[in-house]
Symmetry: C3
Subunit: 286 residues, 3 copies
């Protein structure tokens, strides 16, 4: 029986990236649906709920993706609401790669270290990946600061995280390199989540911050967010700090993504959300 993955997203064209990755993870057939509206979800999900029964149901699964994370969350809600009793299949949420990327970044920081008790700064952290990195760091026991150019935006995001993810994250306004340097005071863990090609902190600023131990940057496009590291850095020591660049994080992201897809087909009742994907990442040998 073929392993079938129903791919749902609101973007007009279903992500080719996610489809290729699904095939490489062992999926036999992706049924790709782009341009999905929330009111279309129920009938599409019925198509995998009611076609196979009993143990065979684990050969069908759902992936919710797309670049618009808020749209994808509505689709995901629709998927979960459609299931009832044993009529359900496993489902993974990874719109914009946010869950797998966040899991990869925090796994890089967590491996072989105790993050609990450390102070972490998530620079430009209000996007889907930044908020999820902040969430995972908080769950690892860090005191987490999350920055935005707009204080009210940072505050809004932190309130939302408290409500939805039950984690306490502190909002900080950072509009320039000087404010970035001030926010770095006492920080042990720095994660940079800015837009591709935007420098957020210069080398001198983080080099003189003695408390800083580890840095990660998810921006793969030069100039990177953190001056002085390289996208390929994978635990490289830079000025006495350990650095992880976007390509090293991206490689682990691909492994986590594939492992999460494979996990979907082990039973028909898994929800591969941020927590489950991060737990899975923790079990993987690199």
């Amino acid at each position: 029986m073929k392993k079938i993955l129903l791919h749902l997203e609101s973007d007009a064209k279903a992500s080719v990236f996610d489809q290729v990755t699904a095939y490489d993870a062992g999926v036999d057939q992706v049924i790709a649906c782009g341009g999905v509206a929330p009111e279309e979800v129920t009938n599409l999900v019925y198509g995998v709920m009611f076609t196979r029964g009993g143990d065979s149901l684990r050969n069908s699964a759902i992936f919710v993706g797309g670049t618009r994370v808020a749209d994808a969350e509505r689709l995901m809600d629709g998927v979960l609401q459609t299931f009832f009793g044993p009529f359900r299949v496993s489902v993974m949420f990874d719109a914009n790669g946010c869950n797998t990327t966040a899991a990869a970044a925090v796994q890089k920081l967590a491996r072989g270290r105790k993050l609990a008790g450390k102070k972490a700064l998530v620079l430009a952290g209000t996007g889907p990946v930044g908020t999820r990195i902040a969430t995972l760091l908080a769950r690892e026991g860090c005191r987490v600061l999350l920055t935005s150019r707009s204080l009210s935006r940072a505050q809004e995001v932190c309130r939302d995280l408290e409500t939805r993810a039950k984690v306490k994250v502190e909002p900080v306004q950072v509009r320039d390199g000087e404010e970035a340097g001030r926010a770095l005071a006492g920080v042990n863990v720095l994660v940079c989540c800015g837009a591709p090609g935007v420098r957020l902190i210069d080398g001198a600023t983080w080099t003189r911050q003695e408390s800083l131990e580890i840095m990660a940057d998810i921006n793969a496009v030069e100039p990177l967010g953190i001056e002085g590291i390289k996208a390929t850095d994978d635990g490289k020591e830079r000025q006495g700090k350990i650095a992880y660049g976007a390509l090293a994080i991206g490689n682990l992201k691909m492994k986590i993504h594939k492992a999460a897809i494979q996990a979907l087909f082990r039973s028909n009742n898994q929800v591969m959300d941020l927590e489950a994907i991060y737990a899975l990442a923790g079990e993987m040998s690199e």
Copy 2:
């Protein structure tokens, strides 16, 4: 050579249900086209007519589906008009599952019994499944009554059946339980084709109808159309009558659906319409 099924329908998203079922029937690749307009059919069909030749042509086939049966009939007409001489592939029509569901329901009623000469009542029978059940019962030799809340609607449907399917079906108006009871007079076979979750006839009404022998209900959502039976009833005796519920019919429908898909690939010249699907269902062991 891969078994390729070209799936055509007018709904924007090609049915996931039918795609999964096709794969489970052994199709190697579904090429799913949703949102198909009649004027697009010719070119799409050329894509399966002209790519493989000779005996290989039987490895390509077409499925016409979608929830809008009238639209699907226009697509089906377009498919059949595109074929010429040996340039044709096998094609199956099952918009809204109407042919396979009707075949399954009537097979349940017909197995091990002689339907010829019996009086049958198709309650709320003006939809795609109801009209097809009425057609098959008439072809089995039943005297068939078909009901609607609107007499003119029932009359229109029966005229259409006479013209298109060459069967005589009698229109009856049934607006409530009392009229349903009156329509049941002398009836041996009752089939209920109402909307999901709508009760059409209560237990006391059919229990006291001594002529009644067999009942089937294609509504799977409680309350069922016929009070006192269960969706899982599969030939269960209820108050001296034999009952078939929607899940039992649905299980047989899935088997018929898969068998019909498999039959498509035996030669390049089959038309799996209501008649052919019902004939195939009659040859299947359950």
Copy 3:
């Protein structure tokens, strides 16, 4: 690892013909994208560029098709501009089958013959196939005349061929059979590229033209463009001339098409354009 072909075109429905042909050429999975706008290309191409690395990248490739050749050229430009350094996959351009059909037609004419120095007439040659046949004939060393009902249209196309394909082709106005006969003076090679079912030259006209040696007609629908030949002619002698009909050319086109698809997966850096496809056709045994 599955051989994945990303199929891009501007037509709303991705060509079924090209998808079936891709599967028959050994592609494991086509990811078919119809209705692609130029601004969507980059992200779709990233999906094959960034999912597989190193030698594995040759298992992903791109096909640019569709009936609107000018649209397809814009998509092709977008694909090629997205690649950088080693981040590229092989790509084939065959909108409207123009490259494979032209390569097949000229291969038929060229096999076992020396075309260099011959005078060739491409009747009704301003379309995508006609211009490419003219290009290939010119590159084989023919003196090439290309006709249109409109002289200015023929001139425009020839100027464009000089600029883009670097070949010299002479524009000729041909509005009727008499002008066709006059254009045939001294011609050795006649190719007819008119619309399906449109007669362009009658039997008496070409029969009396002593210089004429070979003829090809890509119109498969009766009446053919050249009176007196048959669509199945495959090097058949007709009135002392050698004739190739559309079905013979079409059969070779299919072989060339499949060979070109297979070639895509040999490395990650091939561009299967007119030149490459024609070179490949020349290496094939028939």
